[in-house]
Symmetry: C2
Subunit: 405 residues, 2 copies
């Protein structure tokens, strides 16, 4: 079993039985492969008699997106399991526990979270998650601070960064987020009714300049160990609990990329309320909830990050008066810029989001898409001038108002 | 001979003989150890009959500075030889040729440059190097551009960066350049007549903020493969030829750190002319030459870098109108900030420069030191506002004029 091959369900059960203290080996075990088959096999192994269960996630040596298939390193499985273990230590309870990692099989055995739902799905269905902002800000403040030069031994950080050199998965981001949407690339995919908007993106030099600067940051700024793909599809949630999953894009990059992913995806759901809310009153209420969550995510992140900094900073020069304010302001600006990039690419780029793509009525979908593009491009263009998260709330409000005229 | 031990002269000769096509094995060979014994052994192996010669440089497992000794990784020898080979390929003729690298012995066998002088010594002695700006700008423009995300495959760059993770030598820079000079550190060393100036550095919060920002860039900005220690003591020179040596501090960092090292060290020599020029007229002439060289180094760097960019950029987004201007402006600003840090640390920090420290008259030395501190602190404080290299020339002029009042 030690050389790489895609596991069968029977093999998955045998491996699951060998994990201590989870399943009773003499009682019935049920196994189901629940992955989407595009990137990974995911086995859900469960014991009906005890309710015990676990997940086996095995990387496949290729990626399938929209019918195409290209080879993809199995090393992403090591990166994912190592990132999960670092995150578990820094942000206890906010990631699934890892029971075992098998490098040869590119296999991670981990805690089953099937009592949670994928947050993107939960938001589409109108879920309310009162603890989310608290949890995700805690996750980000702690994982980002303590893997940065502010909170980690600076020589150990350099050595750790070697383990998270992640060229193949970074390239996916570099292409799909920071390049394709701004040119007539064959990788792009958008509804024909958006052709004019797409072409406007391709010819907007002022927008391209900001994207180029953000791309440069993504390529060169090794601020902290990022999750690297922190959208609402990478979060398992209940009203009481938040678990961040799938950090296979982890690498040392700019902190704002993670925070921006959360905020950008909340705003994509905000844009999609054109459809998901049944009437104007519920739409207003839902949008207020989502914007409140955006504001809380940033504000809680900022206050936690500052508190952690005050109590734990290891860099003497970082204690300089005014430096923390400067650092946090730039972090907000990066967050806003990256959030905008995340929104734009989900409308015109290769990979979309269900919040918007599953809206059946084309006219309603177009309206949601235009709101998302309007917020996204505004955030990108104004990122370096942003001083407060309230400016983003205003942009989101404005985009909705303008979509009515 | 394969396990590490400091070589004897006899062993050095045997190794030298084994390098093909340099020495005649049957004729007399002379060997002399010419290193300063602080970091490396340096054997000069020469054949009087033919004039052929070469250098064996072996890293010692410790560093000695001002009497103290601390362990230092032998891996710096690998980093140095790999950096030299990359630089030789990118900037042919501007680094010594490497004949062999022996990892076990931490030994690099390379071209002998004893027909050159160390540029710091040459400048102190009043040397004129009309090709220097041309050569060093070529070296920097090519090595920096082609190891950055602008000019190198972005995935290969990430992999290459693993080989240049250099925590021990980076820590020396982080401490001695970006921390100690700004606090009452036991590592500092300065003439007692500078106590007031040193204390002013320790309490200047506006200065500390800029140093903290530059330190953050040094820690996190993986722009390109730097030389990492590009002062005039790392350059062998003649009026016709320039050779950059000793890249043991090489790592992926901000480009401006290399350019700033060159400019900062030219300005340290400029400050030292209080002593080295014999009268006011020759002092004015010498300073004009040095400031002209500073201006040329930047201007030639900028024009070469832009030309290389126009002809070779591999990043589609970097072709965005306005992006190159923005990038080059930030590069100038970084250069100015790092140059300032390099100057300040050579006056009050652990490691000084002969240009200034060998001025025998304390009053004259003090004047030179104050000119250097004035230029250095001005550059640090104004780095983010700099728009032209002429502003730096003005700062240098002003510092001299003010030193007379």
């Amino acid at each position: 079993m030690s050389s790489y091959h895609p596991l069968t369900e029977a093999e998955a059960v045998e491996i699951a039985k060998s994990i201590p203290n989870v399943l009773q080996p003499d009682q019935e075990i049920v196994c189901r492969e629940i992955g989407d088959g595009n990137l990974n096999l995911v086995f859900h192994v469960r014991q009906p008699s005890t309710g015990a269960s676990l997940i086996l996630k095995q990387a496949l040596p290729y990626a399938k997106v929209v019918g195409e298939s290209w080879p993809l390193t199995l090393d992403r499985s090591r990166i994912e399991s190592e990132a999960l273990q670092i995150q578990a230590k820094l942000a206890p309870g906010l990631v699934p526990a890892v029971y075992r990692y098998d490098a040869d099989l590119a296999l991670t055995v981990m805690e089953d979270l099937s009592d949670h739902v994928i947050m993107r799905r939960g938001l589409i269905e109108g879920g309310i998650y009162p603890k989310f902002a608290e949890h995700i800000s805690e996750f980000m403040a702690r994982t980002l601070f303590f893997t940065s030069d502010l909170g980690m031994n600076q020589q150990e950080k350099k050595l750790l960064s070697k383990s998270f050199v992640n060229p193949e998965l970074c390239k996916i981001t570099e292409d799909l987020i920071f390049d394709d949407p701004y040119t007539n690339s064959p990788n792009n995919s958008f509804d024909e009714h958006l052709r004019e908007e797409a072409q406007a993106l391709w010819s907007d030099t002022a927008l391209h300049l900001e994207v180029a600067l953000l791309r440069d940051k993504f390529l060169t700024s090794a601020q902290a160990l990022l999750h690297g793909d922190l959208h609402t599809g990478s979060i398992f949630i209940t009203p009481e609990s938040t678990k961040v999953i799938d950090p296979e894009f982890a690498y040392f990059g700019p902190m704002g990329f993670d925070i921006g992913a959360v905020i950008g995806n909340l705003l994509l759901n905000y844009a999609s309320q054109e459809h998901w809310s049944s009437d104007e009153a519920s739409r207003r209420e839902r949008r207020a909830y989502l914007l409140g969550t955006v504001r809380d995510v940033w504000n809680l992140f900022e206050s936690k990050f500052r508190k952690i900094w005050d109590e734990n900073v290891i860099d003497r020069m970082a204690r300089t008066e005014g430096y923390q304010d400067h650092y946090v302001r730039r972090l907000l600006q990066d967050t806003v810029g990256f959030a905008g990039c995340k929104m734009v690419r989900r409308i015109v780029g290769l990979s979309h989001v269900a919040d918007i793509d599953t809206i059946p009525n084309p006219a309603v979908r177009a309206k949601a898409q235009r709101i998302a593009l309007s917020i996204g491009t505004s955030m990108i263009k104004q990122n370096r001038d942003t001083r407060s998260i309230d400016e983003i709330i205003d942009m989101a409000d404005t985009a909705v108002h303008e979509s009515r005229s």
